[in-house]
Point group: C2
Chain length 138, copies 2
Amino acid sequence: MADVINDILKRNQLSVTDSRKKILEFFHHADGALAHADIEKMSGESFDRVTIYRTLQTFVEKGIIHTIPTADNSVKYALCKDECAAGHHHDDHIHFLCDDCGTTYCLDTHVPAVQLPQGFVVKRTDVVVSGKCGKCSN
Amino acid sequence: MADVINDILKRNQLSVTDSRKKILEFFHHADGALAHADIEKMSGESFDRVTIYRTLQTFVEKGIIHTIPTADNSVKYALCKDECAAGHHHDDHIHFLCDDCGTTYCLDTHVPAVQLPQGFVVKRTDVVVSGKCGKCSN
DNA sequence: ATTCCTTTTGCAACAAAGTTGCATTCCGTT
DNA sequence: AACGGAATGCAACTTTGTTGCAAAAGGAAT
Ligand SMILES: [Mn+2]
Ligand SMILES: [Mn+2]
Ligand SMILES: [Zn+2]
Ligand SMILES: [Zn+2]
């Protein structure tokens, strides 16, 4: 486990620090996506708020995690499953936000190709579905 | 013009106030979606920041405008073209965010039906595409 | 036009979220 | 062990969003 974490950081030319290891572990243990606020709560007094901001930013830039837009002004983050590299994300899967339990899922469904007007160039497509997840719909 | 604005408010059982008229006009004149910050800049000293928050919230509840999630933690708002009523939005079109000019477009393309795992119930689907718009891609 | 009641607004105070600069500490290498 | 660059913590600050309450405005009735 510790090896996996270590590897990810080294592979991305990032020095292995306590905060980075801890935050990466949070993502690995989490069953859904995490918001900045989630990490802040989980970490308690371990490290500074600012460090979390900077770490998340670094991870996104390196292609270790990706962002998930939500309708309520709260970006969430999740591990990139696909082979994402610095500056080149390929997280073309759809996301699901459960209105009940609040969990954000990365689903295996690929985002569909969308039809756009003449001249529009697609860089990124986000599909965010909300409703009730499997656990909450019964 | 003033009549149209007036009608929308009355139809939704909202009293016709300066701020509501002005904000509705902003949306009608805008070629794209507007963020809270945009409206604040446009209105100058006309009315209070809090009024803008409350007005946007009211308009969303009444089905006059709808929200558009973005990856950068800034919700945008646009007029509902479709027949949306209080508590029942039907804005099932996709959105496009231009990375160059910042404009957010409501496109006429309908959101696709997405395949979800067993037990997942869909309430809302947001498709947000980003890249370069027609004006910026040349 | 005046009155009356309800809704909306503005203000102030506050809370939460995010940013920046800089000194200190830590990491990786020599 | 020592060094240099990168990461962290802290403080100060800005921006964004929320809440309570008194004043003002809107709409309906007289
Ligand atoms: Mn994902
Ligand atoms: Mn729209
Ligand atoms: Zn759920
Ligand atoms: Zn553009």
